[in-house]
């Protein structure tokens, strides 16, 4: 694995650590306001300064990691499970099942710009954590399904699958115990890149006011709140912005590195 992958791994590790231990690492209460200390610059007391309501930006950025990772993990797991299931069925059965699933269903979901679909869902259903997660899963599963379909199409022709079939194994047994474990590797890459995408989408929707409502310390919401004041107080936007960028960058590095590591053709290039 290259150096950038390790950098990604270290940053992602730090983000996970921060998310888990946020209550112990935070220096202030996340929602505690101090109107006398609005937009205070970074200092020994407030490492990242304070926001427009005098809340400690450092503590809010730490707790923001929790929200981002929580959304990211749920979205990746749900999308991957749904995607793996549908993709496997399409690839394994082929024929009209595949034509309906990959020819129609995949194309429909890919025909929408993902972000727009998420915006539309949240706009009609209302903002909130659960709805945000549902919207991101709805746009997320198809990526996994496509990769999985391609993999299953390849693996189902291998000799050991033919052998299992000759031994009289049922379709479900062949699919879940023989094909799936051998087809799942590229999904690891997809998950890492999906994690980056989910963190970014959560922040984007929260920035648009369609994600997690205030006072929850979502990074996107923090940027939206800082937007009108950043020209005078850039620190309120800089720290949550850097947190998003570093987290997304880390998972992208990781995904890219894993792709190269798992694909020998890319490694030699």
């Amino acid at each position: 694995m290259n150096r950038l992958t390790y950098i990604g791994l270290v940053i992602a590790g730090i983000v996970v650590f921060v998310a888990i231990f946020a209550p112990f690492l935070a220096t202030h209460e996340v929602t505690a306001q101090n109107l006398e200390l609005r937009f205070a610059a970074p200092s020994a007391q407030h490492w990242f300064g304070t926001d427009g309501l005098g809340r400690d930006v450092f503590s809010r950025v730490l707790f923001g990691a929790r929200i981002s990772l929580q959304v990211g993990i749920i979205v990746v797991v749900v999308s991957a499970v749904v995607g793996i299931f549908i993709g496997s069925i399409a690839g394994f059965y082929g024929g009209w099942v595949d034509r309906v699933l990959s020819g129609y269903l995949f194309n429909v979901f890919l025909a929408f710009p993902g972000l727009l679909l998420a915006i539309a869902f949240v706009a009609f259903l209302g903002a909130g954590l659960e709805k945000l997660i549902i919207a991101l899963c709805i746009i997320g599963w198809v990526g996994y399904a496509r990769v999985m379909r391609g993999q299953v199409l390849k693996v189902r022709e291998y000799d050991f699958v033919q052998a299992a079939r000759a031994l009289g194994a049922s379709n479900m047994r062949i699919l879940f115990t023989h094909i799936l474990p051998n087809a799942i590797q590229p999904l690891i890459v997809q998950s890492s890149l999906g994690m980056a995408g989910a963190v970014l989408s959560e922040a984007t929707l929260s920035f648009l006011g369609l994600g997690i409502p205030p006072p929850a310390p979502s990074w996107g919401t923090m940027i939206e709140e800082a937007r009108n004041f950043f020209s005078i107080y850039p620190h309120v936007l800089f720290f949550p912005g850097a947190a998003i960028a570093l987290t997304v960058l880390a998972f992208n590095f990781l995904g890219d590195g894993l792709r190269e590591y798992l694909d020998p053709k890319q490694r030699t290039r």
Binding site: N107, V108, A111, L115, I119, F124, T204, G241
Partner: protein, 326 residues
Amino acid sequence: MKYKLLSFARQVGLIILVAWTVVSLVTFLIEFVPGSPATAILGETATQEQIDNFNRKHGLDRPSFFLSISFEEGFEWHGLNNRYYDYFAGLLRGDLGTSFRTDRPVLDMILERYPATIKLAVASMLVAIGIAIPLGILAGTNKGKIIDNFASFIALLGISLPTFVVGPFLVYIFAVQLEIFRPTGSLYPEDIILPAVTLGAALSAILTRMVRSSVIEELGEDYVRTARAKGLSERTVIYKHVLKNGLIPVVTILGLQLGVLLAGSIITEKIFSWQGLGLLLLDEGIAKRDYRLVQGCVLVISLTYILANTLTDVVYRWLDPRIRLN
């Protein structure tokens, strides 16, 4: 010829099917609005008469679909007397309904803003191409060297930095500190520069990676060796041979990304108060709960996306005879 026609018919059929699904989805979403559109628009204090009038005016008193199911009446068939049919019939006449808020035709409101969004999308695409092609060639021809690592790093950074972080920082540097541009607005021609760079940054990152791997792949081909063996200069080899073939996949990505740019422009338009379709959707549609307008905006953006993808496919086939023949 017969096969060609069949493949064309299949493609057209798929586009129609996808467009129909998109329209249906957008039509159905309005049914899931918590409460009702009438109370969302008129407020909790509205009288029953006001609500009835509103529903009648916008056709919301009619059944939502051809068929309805209820505990009291069981299945009920409504024939063509339903909102789903109304919306489709209207669409075929070029009517997207009237705005819940302003009573203006939604299509007129969209058409006023549409050119600004397209202008922004095209400008950001030009920015992206301007950055990506030289950077991608540089990285691809210097594979593994420090310049390649640097370009790859910049590209990944571009993908990871959200528009709503890049935008405000560009404003901070170029509008607040250097005072070269205005921070927001879309009145003057130069106002497009900051939004276009913001929106184009992420795309340029994706394109750079694409150009790089394309160049690396083409450099390994036999025709490159032949061209070099003929004694052509490296410059001619790269620009006349490698780039011509290497840009084919880039065209596809460009076309596919036009739709992504349209969706991404929603955020950029918000940051820069760019008076396009995205701002219309957010400020007039979602913020004011004008669901009819939201339906229209989502529909127009999605259909533009589908159209861009289809055109890309056609151009791609035309550019690469291998695909045409297959």
